[in-house]
Amino acid sequence: LHPTPMLDELEKGPWPSFISGFKELAERTRKPMLRGVMDQLEYSYNTKMGYWKGGLVTVDGYGAGVITRYSMIKDKFPEATEFHTMRIQPAPGLHYNTTMMRQLCDIWEKYGSGVIALHGQTGDIMLQGIEQDKVQACFDELNQAGWDLGGAGAGMRTAVSCIGQARCENACYNNLEVHLKLLKHFVGALHRPEWNYKIKFKFSGCPNDCTNSIMRSDLAVIGTWKDAIQVEPDEVKAWIAEKGIDALVNQVINLCPTKAIALKEGEMVIDSRDCVRCMHCLNAMPKALSPGKERGISLLMGGKNTLKVGVNMGSMIVPFMKMESEEDLEAFTELTEQIIDWWDDNGLDHERIGETIERVGLKQFLEGVGMDVDINMVTRPRDNPYFKAKY
């Protein structure tokens, strides 16, 4: 390895160091690409500029999934000439067994650099550092082991799910299964992107939204329930006995966003009709309270980050849908297809679906996709009289 004094600074301190990891890998495997990339990175640290440019590499039949990187200064760092990433879709919920993971590592070490990011922000396993001429072979071997490429470009993207029903008592639907089936359904649009821009799904089991779906997915599928919160009165009493009335008032009652909880002679009384399913009281009293029994999902649309419009959170579009049977899932799949079709027809180039809805108007969007209006879609009716209705 060449000297990398800047990067070496990042080996100090208690937090695990990616630089130490790279060095260990480079020293063991002696892969020149790793040395080249570290040299170029060191150079970036010195000059405060990046030196990669994109290109186009795919695997047979696919139009996306490999992020291509060519060094802009390969004369300086010929070993860093190519450093492409393969995006790989993990299992929903990011679950692994060691057999599948070891196999993945072995294939990756065989063809690529051995650097892996677990995971990319969209949810992919990112295998970072492979040369163009090894991509197809690497992919074929991965694919035989049950792995497939993730999304990139103007199409469906890789999705993310929270751990959901695998471990969490709050999960209101089987998000792992819905994720699996929906992404299989849209797999063509993922591999061969040809829309206006990207579309991302994220699946959170409940409104705690542990996948941040509202902020970073065009289609956020969030578990919820329709009936009353389930209460275990004894556990409520035990909670109050342990923590006291002050805690009940200051940490539960007073934090309910819609004042759905009142104090009544030392007890908490939830008026479920006022509840907006924010999760707080359930989070505060996990033994005592749980979601109702009539469970399903809400669909929020239009989440995306910053570019051009500022952070845009997803908006409530489908307040409630059952998500238990095959038919439920089919109905949902159809709806999302319809929505995406509408967007593909009406959107502009590089316009996310949330931007399209804002531009044409929510009413026009609903008419376009043939959905009924629901008051849950807005925080309030309009405060200006500026519309012309069809009377």
Partner: protein, 359 residues
């Protein structure tokens, strides 16, 4: 790239299947969990309706991992968890076992290997971050380096649950912010309009694409040295960098003029308050590799104030809503300035249209 020898016919399978990746106790109690507890930092206990319990040990990773590291994690999973493990949304690794006695053994072994155990409950969890100079084609900095530097100083906070509520951090290497918003986000902020590389432009860029990409219509076609090119109306330009993504000749990055901004109060969960977007609280921080001390310092100030003053369950943004932005700036020592007043599309909705006031 199609190779003649290819024998394997691609299976477009999409995500990997998950059932085979679930621990048998998880599979048995799937969808039937009853409640959870956090016995200590980095450890979760989930109890099912059946009475089964599963213990989770969570540890931090650098996210930029290697096959070597991953194999070491597999070793732990094989030894204590019947060969199963998973990752969280925030790049932490989780080991699930029904055997309580394995918990302490795992903690010891993970920490010895350099993977800090923690990240649960009211702590500072790992930072979601992005590619940076290591891989992206448009970065102004190296997110992984910034994160490593920050987490070194927040090591204690990752391993203890001493915050009022969860703290989520993110770091991004350009204004696009692939890292996403968070309680505290460290994001590159461009401070100058793009310089145009006229030589390259006509060769490599689709001119109309760059023109339409600009949200404030600051880009106009022009002729330079007899070639069609573009010019930027600098009075209009808001330094968003959108054009750079469309056309690498709109050079927005600069070693000195691409800076850092710090953002706070991003919240994505629906717990209590609605999800809220984050607000800028510092900008013009230097892009200072390899350790970016100014960033770590600013984040540290915010976290100390929050730790000191937040009440149970208050996320950073909720804490600020209670104490007010005025006191936030006082207590963190940061400075509110006129550029922090929104001036973009829905600016009016951020005006204080009330007599609610703080002193």
């Amino acid at each position: 790239m199609s190779s003649p020898e290819k024998k394997w016919k691609t299976v477009e399978s999409g995500p990997h299947s998950y059932e085979e990746a679930l621990h048998p106790v998880v599979r048995k109690n799937y969808g039937k969990w009853k409640y959870h507890e956090i016995p200590k930092p980095g450890v979760l206990k989930h109890v099912a309706e059946s009475g089964d319990a599963i213990y989770t040990v969570r540890a931090g990773t650098p996210r930029q991992d290697t096959v070597d590291m991953v194999r070491r994690l597999c070793d732990i999973a094989d030894k204590y968890c019947d060969g199963y493990f998973r990752f969280t949304i925030r790049n932490n690794v989780e080991f699930l076992t029904p055997r309580q006695e394995n918990v302490e053994l795992m903690i010891k072994e993970l920490e010895e290997m350099g993977f800090p155990v923690g990240g649960t409950g009211s702590c500072v969890s790992s930072v979601s971050h992005t590619q940076g100079w290591l891989h992206c084609d448009i970065p102004a900095t190296d997110a992984s380096g910034v994160v490593k530097s920050m987490m070194d100083s927040l090591y204690h906070e990752f391993r203890h649950m001493e915050m009022p509520n969860k703290v989520r951090l993110s770091t991004s290497c350009c204004s696009i912010n692939c890292g996403g918003q968070a309680d505290i986000a460290v994001v590159v902020k461009h401070t100058r309009p793009p310089r145009i590389n006229h030589d390259n432009l006509s060769m490599i860029c689709e001119l109309p694409k760059a023109v339409t990409r600009c949200p404030v219509a600051a880009i106009r076609p022009t002729m330079v040295n007899g070639k069609r090119s573009l010019m930027v109306d600098e009075a209009k330009c808001i330094c968003c960098g959108a054009c750079f993504g469309a056309c690498p000749s709109m050079e927005i990055n600069h070693p000195e003029h691409s800076k850092f901004a710090i953002w706070v109060g991003g919240k994505n969960s629906n717990a209590r308050s609605k999800p809220s977007t984050m607000s800028i609280v510092a900008h013009n921080l230097p892009n200072n590799p390899p350790r970016w001390p100014e960033v770590t310092e600013a984040v540290g100030k915010i976290l100390s104030a929050y730790k000191e003053g937040g009440r149970p369950w208050e996320r950073v943004g909720e804490w600020i809503n209670r104490i007010g932005w005025k006191r936030f700036f006082e207590e963190t020592g940061l400075t509110f300035d006129e550029d922090m007043i929104d001036s973009y599309r829905h600016a009016r909705s951020t005006f204080n249209q009330s007599a609610h006031v703080r002193f």
